[in-house]
């Protein structure tokens, strides 16, 4: 390959290599979207089932929210997985850094938001109004993260995912208005599960497929 080459060839090499680096999608890049998509969707649906069961046996349905503690081991699994993938990655792009930072900011914002919601609801002894806010706001924040990811990656399915999240966020608010006697929160969890599958699981699989094709 070490031969003299023309200026035109030189330009061609530069543009070709820059494009290759730009279009780089690592194998299994969608794994986190798929993992979190299924985790949250399953937890949301289990929450629906638990609310229904607790109602039937006349126990406070609020106990069903403890299902969300499952997110703690999920974070640990996700963290270990991320470290493993980072170590085996043969290239680290600026885009990877931006995406990691966006989702890290999302995670931190969620924790702060939950501290605010639970802090306010317990100190003011007002529960319903605050708890109805949890799903729409978290879905809204997810939409922001996914929108930025879509723009940075230039991957259209993430954009549709972001639109699904924002629509889901509005639908969650609407559910509280339409379904009374606590049924609103039940519908919110169903919306959350649907949003996670449309907005996370489907684009995640599509990204994996794209990565597979890139590496053939």
């Amino acid at each position: 390959m070490e031969t003299k080459f023309t200026e035109q060839q030189s330009l061609k090499v530069i543009s070709e290599m820059i494009n290759r680096a730009r279009n780089n999608v690592q194998k299994g890049a969608g794994i986190f979207m798929i993992f979190w998509g299924w985790m949250v969707a399953i937890a949301a649906l289990l929450n629906v089932v638990l609310i229904y069961i607790l109602w039937r046996i006349s126990v406070s349905p609020s106990y069903s929210f403890h299902i969300w503690w499952i997110m703690l081991p999920a974070w640990i699994v996700s963290f270990i997985l991320k470290r493993k993938i980072d170590r085996s990655a043969i290239v680290k792009t600026h885009i990877d850094n931006v995406i990691s930072s966006v989702w890290m900011a999302f995670g931190i914002s969620n924790v702060i938001f939950l501290i605010i919601i639970f802090g306010l609801s317990y100190s003011l002894q007002v529960y319903d109004y605050f708890f109805y806010m949890i799903n729409p706001i978290i879905i809204l924040l997810t939409g922001i993260g996914e929108f930025v990811t879509a723009k940075v990656c230039r991957f259209r399915p993430f954009l549709y995912g972001a639109i699904a999240m924002w629509t889901g966020s509005l639908a969650c608010a609407l559910a509280v208005m339409l379904f009374k006697n606590g049924n609103g929160v039940l519908v919110q969890f169903i919306i959350l599960a649907v949003c996670m599958i449309i907005g996370f699981v489907v684009p995640g699989y599509k990204l994996n497929k794209l990565a597979e094709n890139n590496h053939v």
Partner: protein
């Protein structure tokens, strides 16, 4: 006045390495080999030349028991690459005007 093209960068493989590294934070030797299609020996020689010129930083490490070489373009390398692209543009513009 037309600037001469930097001879260190005006080589197909070295330019390919620099063009790849300018778009990423860091790249493994395996990635550079996959993208350039060069042989391991040739790639290794060209990486050494770029490192000696101070254009890239090379970190030799281990993944388990396997040796690993990670390359990063540095500030000197970015400046040299920008100057090269600028000189190339001037050269092509000049040629375009002479036609």
């Amino acid at each position: 006045m037309f600037k001469d093209l930097n001879p260190l960068l005006h080589s197909q493989l070295r330019l390919a390495i620099m063009s790849l590294l300018i778009g990423v934070e860091e790249a493994d030797f395996v990635y550079l080999r996959e993208q350039t299609g060069a042989s391991a020996g040739n790639l290794s020689v060209q990486i050494d030349k770029l490192q000696e010129a101070g254009y890239i930083d090379v970190e030799k490490t281990f993944r388990g028991k396997m040796p690993r070489t990670i390359c990063r373009i540095n500030r000197v390398g970015i400046e040299a690459f920008n100057e090269y692209v600028q000189a190339l543009q001037e050269y092509l513009n000049k040629r375009g005007m002479n036609k």
